[in-house]
Every structure is written in structure tokens, then in C-alpha cells.
Amino acid sequence: MKTKEAFAYTPYESELEGASNAYVISLLAVVAGLPIPIFNLLASIIFYFGTRKSTYFVRWHTTQFLLSQLFLFFFNSFGFWWSLSIFLQKNELSNAYIGYLIFLIVVNISEFILTVYSAIQVRKGVHVQWYFFGTLTQQLVKNKS
């Protein structure tokens, strides 16, 4: 789900750190965010607004990660409310629920691994472009300079 592509320019060392932080910040939020999906998204949104005036490279990676978080948020939220309804006995434990929960676990672990990988690679100066989210980011974020 990721490709290494050449970026429009060679980013400075400070940019690599800023872009890598976009991924790292969400890893910190994971600790609090695991049970409540909104925390991860909130961390990404706050970081996104904090780096709006930053360089193209930083904005690009912040946006890519925010988009992926936004996408996952809907799946996680659905799972969260489903779990809550089972806990409150509005719904029953079922094969559909367990299947969906396993899907969420696999997707979230995959996303976690991809996030760690991206944070490391971006810090090294490698422009990691995620499938779909990278393409979408390419369309949304333009180089102002």
C-alpha cells in the first residue's frame, strides 16, 4: 500500500523532522486513542492546522496522514458504537460483530506498522506515498513556492 517516489525538491533536515512528526504524533495518540477513535483524528487535525504554513514537504505528509486517519475514523467509529451497543445490551454478540472487530484489528495494526515505517523513512528523507491517500494528497496539496 505504499510507494517510494521522488519528491519535487530535496527537503531540508528540519522538514524531514516536521514531516516525520506528523506520523509520530499519531502514534502517541494511539495510547489514548485505542478505545475512542476520535482521539487519533483529533491529534492529526491539530497537527495539520499547526503545520498549515509549513513547507510543502511537511504539509504533504501531514495531509496524507490526516486523510488516512479520516478514512479509518469512520470504520473505527462504527466499531466503537457497535461495541458500546453490545455492552449496553442493545445488540447481541454475533459472528458479524466478531468478524468486523477482527477486520478493525487487522486494519489498525496494518496502519500502525505503516505509520511507524513511514515515520522512519520520511525522517531519512524518503518520500513515502501511500496507495490512494498519496494520490489524493498529490491532488489536494500544491507547492506554493
Binding site: 459472528n95 458479524a96 466478531i98 468478524g99 489524493l136
Partner: protein, 265 residues
């Protein structure tokens, strides 16, 4: 942008296929969830019933008549009859469902009824609670699964006392009671038992309880208001249906009452 749309579609389609495939697997069986819950339910039912028996003797002779009533209700409604019926000697007018497909009738409820169809109404109502899994739903909601598992695995007498008290008094929510009333009514109609007998029985118990203020009329006091119930049930009774039959013969009913009266002595 078209590339992003195509890729987005591929990602969503992959997710949809993955979710579909994962939800088709019988996880409940594979992870032994079903069997664990079933064991818990059976164990809870046994333990609660044993604690009830400490205060009330079981009347074995009355089961045959009740069993044939239950058989008729289940057969007419294509329901699997896995219910374990028990009649306990008590002055309390009560009947309730326990975990593990157990149904308990107190003798006073049966002797208070004028005929078998009135008891069949109560039975249909409790059967609906069992078939809708209201018993375990209410228990989990009230106590939590962890409490129930630890109560069963340990020897927590106090825990069982509160579970027993809960099940024999105010176990179900208003919505569950209404659902059981309406499903019970449908069971009766399919079994060609006049549901008006159930409504009349409810109104009768309600008026006795209100006039005399008897605390022994538990079955009614732990359910929604009898008049409300009789109103919504009367509205649901099919007025065109008139070919009703008695659920058991007059002779079988009289035999059961004789057994119960004999036990009294």
C-alpha cells in the same frame, strides 16, 4: 483526480469484500463463545433453581398437565420444546423464566386460575421471554457478564441470592414485557387458545391486588400495569377468530388442581 477515485474505489471494494468474508465465518462456534454462554446459562439456571427450592417444595405431580400445555404451544408455533418446567409450592401468585430454558410456576398462580387457558396465557408470556432471550439479556445488563461468570465459577451465595431475587421480581424492562405479551398472544392464537382468557386473568389479578392490596400477587406487581396491558392486548386480539379450543381437557385440568390441593393438605 480520476486516478484517486479509481484507487479509492479499489480500497473501499477491498474493505467491503474483507468485511463480508470475515462476517460469514462462524466465530461464535470457532471461539467457543456460544458454548461458554450456554454453559453459563445452564449453570446459572441450575444454581438459581436450587436456591428457590430451599424455600419451596417442588410438586412433581402437576408437571404432566403443564407439559402438555407447553407441548401444544410449541408445536403450534414451530418452536423447539427445550423448556424444563417446574411447579413449586408457594402462596405467592407468580411464574417466571430462569436461565437455561427453565420455567417456574408457583402453585398459587395455578390454583388462582379458573381454567387451563388462563395459565396457558401466563405460560405463553414466559415462553416468549425465553425464546427472545430476555432472561440472559436482562441478567447481563443488570449484573454484567464478569459478575455472572465469577458467581458461577465461585461459590458466591450472596451473588446468587441477588440473581434469584432479580429474576423472580423485576427482571425485565417494560419493552421486554410488552414484547413478551404480544408474542405470547400470537403463540396463543396459533395454538387456538382463546387469548381473552389471559387478558381476563390479568384483569382479575389486578383488581384483587388493588382491592385487597395483597403483596402475594407478585406476577402482576412485577409487570407493567394490568389495565394497560389488557388494553393493548385486547386491541391485538383478532376479532374474526372464534374457533378456539381448550388447551387441555377439563379432566386433565381438574386432576392437576386436585394434585395441588392434595399437596396443600
Amino acid at each position: 483526480m480520476s486516478k484517486a477515485i479509481v484507487q479509492g474505489f479499489i480500497v473501499l471494494a477491498t474493505f467491503a469484500i474483507a468485511i463480508f468474508c470475515l462476517t460469514q465465518i462462524n466465530w461464535m462456534k470457532m471461539l467457543h463463545v456460544e458454548s461458554s454462554l450456554q454453559k453459563l446459562e445452564e449453570s446459572l439456571g441450575d444454581r438459581v433453581f436450587n436456591s428457590l427450592r430451599l424455600d419451596a417444595d417442588e410438586i412433581h405431580g402437576a408437571n404432566a398437565a403443564l407439559d402438555s400445555m407447553l407441548h401444544k404451544l410449541c408445536e403450534a408455533n414451530n418452536l423447539e420444546n427445550t423448556i424444563e418446567l417446574h411447579v413449586l409450592h408457594s402462596d405467592e401468585v407468580n411464574a417466571f423464566a430462569l436461565p437455561g430454558n427453565k420455567m417456574v410456576f408457583y402453585s398459587a398462580l395455578i390454583t388462582e386460575a379458573e381454567n387451563a387457558d388462563e395459565v396457558a396465557g401466563v405460560m405463553a408470556h414466559e415462553l416468549a421471554h425465553i425464546k427472545q432471550n430476555h432472561v440472559m439479556k436482562s441478567l447481563v445488563q443488570q449484573f454484567g457478564l464478569q459478575f455472572l461468570f465469577s458467581a458461577v465459577s465461585g461459590n458466591a451465595a450472596e451473588a446468587f441470592s441477588s440473581v434469584t431475587q432479580f429474576l423472580s421480581t423485576n427482571a425485565f424492562s417494560r419493552d421486554m414485557e410488552k414484547e413478551a405479551d404480544l408474542i405470547g398472544l400470537a403463540y396463543l392464537e396459533k395454538a387456538k387458545v382463546n387469548p381473552a382468557a389471559f387478558v381476563n386473568f390479568m384483569v382479575k389479578l389486578d383488581s384483587i391486588q388493588k382491592e385487597e392490596g395483597l403483596s402475594l400477587y407478585s406476577w402482576l406487581s412485577t409487570h407493567p400495569d394490568g389495565i394497560d396491558r389488557s388494553e393493548y392486548l385486547s386491541e391485538k386480539i383478532n376479532p374474526d377468530k372464534s374457533h378456539y379450543e381448550s388447551i387441555i381437557s377439563e379432566e386433565t385440568w381438574s386432576d392437576m388442581i386436585a394434585r395441588l390441593n392434595e399437596f396443600e393438605k
